[in-house]
Symmetry: C2
Subunit: 436 residues, 2 copies
């Protein structure tokens, strides 16, 4: 049994997914000092005799999973509209409900998402939405790590545009580095098809002024790409390059429909792509060219998108989908092997979010990690734990979770959030939206 | 808390997935008498005052899931070879190990599979393999329902062919109707590309003599289809029709590469297709034409294939993959809606296996059903339980399982099998295979 340690402590008899050049998995010890991993190896490190020791037998330790695209507040709309044409789903289901969202709705939606993510092994998430102070509050309370950004749609008066831009700037300034450094921020015009070029450029300028990275939706559907070409004579990647976005460190979500030339642009500017396989399949947006992106040197990470289009926030499922669908589509069973899918869900995710010390189990990294119980039928025999993590595991296999050195999930229960209350309030918030 | 009832008992306050013409979900009562469901409805039925009543609050009751294609013994090879080209996987990994399989290995492999399936809500499975009396023994012990068949590869002397055929006939005769009727049997030549036509025809004859259905692998890969055309001048469906297989009630596994004409033949003869999306994607075999098959009136069910090529036996994942990938491939977000995916995993599965009283929650049906706890973050809000079952759930959400009226899983623990021993013996069987 692992205790809720803080300060310095050590795990013995653990199996650790290290995925470095020498080995995939290591059996032995991991030393945690405050918020950092300071040692990992087969031999016991030098440390004081009275350091708390916890037994990691039967546990597989992985870096916490990194979800690089989502809208946490929208979990209130899980299952509210499925199996519909995209425009029907948006215009008849999502938008009328989202218009009614209050700060309180976003608070309970984001709480529900944080609860689901932490229990499922996600320790870092990127969130783009409105009422972002509420999401930041949930990050503070839950102990999760997050990259937060006020996503702005520019279909409005110039006055309103300026108001929203200021809101995005103020949020990004106020919250960057908060929650003991667990919150960082970005600038996010919602998408090239929802923000006029001049408005989009103001976000680029603000990102320069604040020295922040940028995030946007890009090339999710064929029709938005066609619209971009019709409106601006450029494909979206070229359009965003022209608007200067890629002079900032950037990550784009989806990137489903890309030409070779666009992939080259993304690679040249080191722009990350958040691949959202579950959402892209469910909304029938298409299949991103992930093997080509990786081949070109683009950092491809994974996102769930919102629970309204997924319909869960299980990053194990996204890793498995990434490993499976690109094999099936390409006809190549060696495409996206398990270790690559795992990196997409961890290391590449952290890199995409510009978090240098997150995403791996190694000395000097933040103590963001999770433990699965390997004593279960679907993890037997113990042949290959990387394979098992990708092809056999699910969110519910996560037993323990630590973020920034603090335990936030223990034996499957969240230590930081009031689960029962969140479930009740989320249900009631949904019913409120439905009835008003 | 639900007790391990037998005889007559009733569930109150339950939410039942009935998926009939009137409604998808019903809240109320379900009466179980011995092995049968005898009532389901909103009002309390007439029954004796002292009948045991169990509270189904917070539980979603679904028909037990039906896995229509697999090789249970092969779970011993889970994770032993992944992300490899098909021929490398078969020739260097699977076949050399399978050649060494003893009866005992199959017993422990099948026990591991039965344990995983029951805990994950699968109450019926079709199994095609060798050493089938071991699998039958596991079915007896575990309480699961199964359609069992000795799968025969015909690459051998005529004498050996005859020996294997006799083995298949004797197994099918001896075990049909055993385990209180939970076991039925079929005749299974392994595949058209592994059984010469004359040998295949002997199975058809035996199926007629014994009045049994037939099962085989068909059109899983492009190369086997090309080989069939080269060898016999016919595509596999036409070839099997010519050999007389479809004069028997039949189900074929995979059916990935089919022409319109072949789909028409399958529809005409009412041949079921077991769609195995996880395995087909992982082995890069291709994407079956499921929407076209359903449109033509073919009964399409779902199978996991073995844990060596999947790598789990989670039927919730297969239902979700079926609902997701055919949307993504077709570009139509209304393809395979949640209710259809759920039927593929339950009703259509039972129909494909010629089990008339399995696969639905309705009076007169076998009491094979499962319960999920809906008081969990990823099932909130309670918008649409059919959607949640397909897009949000996983095997590990299953709390209770009943087969033939008997509870076999309670609070996530298997009541009929020794979990700890099975895990230990499966690991040791794998190590034995590796070392001899």
């Amino acid at each position: 049994m692992i205790n809720n340690q803080s300060g310095n402590w050590i795990i013995k008899n653990g199996t650790f997914v290290v995925l470095n050049n020498e080995q995939a998995v290591l059996k032995g010890y991991m030393l945690v000092e405050d918020d950092l991993i300071t040692y990992i190896g087969e031999e016991k490190p030098e440390c004081s005799d009275d350091i708390p020791v916890v037994d990691g037998s039967h546990l597989l330790f992985l870096p916490g999973l990194v979800n690089t695209h989502g809208h946490a507040g929208m979990s209130l709309l899980r299952g509210y509209g499925d199996d519909l044409a995209l425009q029907v789903w948006l215009q008849e289901k999502m938008w009328p409900m989202e218009e009614k969202f209050t700060s309180e709705d976003v608070y309970w939606g984001a709480s529900l998402s944080a609860l689901e993510m932490l229990k499922g092994g996600t320790t870092t998430f990127l969130d783009m939405y409105d009422h972002m102070d509420q999401v930041a509050k949930v990050v503070q309370e839950s102990g999760i790590r997050a990259v937060l950004t006020r996503g702005v749609i520019g279909f409005c008066s110039e006055e309103m545009q300026q108001h929203k831009l200021n809101e995005a700037i103020n949020f990004a300034k106020d919250w960057n580095g908060q929650a003991d450094g667990r919150i960082t921020t970005m600038m996010s015009p919602h998408a090239p098809y929802t923000c006029p070029p001049a408005f989009f450029e103001k976000f680029v300028q603000a990102a320069h002024d604040l020295d922040l990275p940028m995030h946007t939706h890009m090339s999710e559907t064929l029709s938005e790409v066609a619209q971009n070409v019709a409106d601006y004579g450029l494909r979206p990647t070229q359009h965003l390059e022209k608007l200067g976005m890629f002079t900032r460190p950037s990550i784009v979500a989806h990137g489903v429909h890309l030409t070779d030339e666009e992939i080259e642009i993304l690679a040249t500017h080191d722009v990350g792509v958040s691949h959202n396989p579950g959402s892209n399949l469910k909304l029938a947006s298409g299949i991103a060219r992930v093997t080509d992106l990786l081949k070109a040197g683009v950092t491809v990470s994974l996102g769930t998108d919102s629970a309204a289009s997924n319909n869960n926030l299980d990053m194990f499922e996204e890793m498995r989908l990434a490993a499976l669908i690109h094999k099936g589509i390409s006809g190549d069973p060696t495409a996206i092997p398990a270790a690559v899918a795992l990196r997409m869900g961890t290391t590449y995710g952290a890199k995409s979010l510009f978090l240098d010390n997150v995403g791996r189990l190694a000395p000097g990294m933040k103590a963001d990690f999770i433990a699965l119980n390997t004593d279960q039928a679907h993890f037997l025999p113990h042949t290959d734990f990387i394979s098992h993590s990708i092809y056999s595991a699910s969110a519910k296999d996560v037993e323990h979770v630590w973020v920034d050195g603090k335990q936030v999930v223990k034996n499957g229960a969240c230590l930081t959030l009031d689960e029962e209350r969140i479930r009740r309030e989320a249900q009631s918030a949904f019913e409120g939206l439905l009835n008003r």
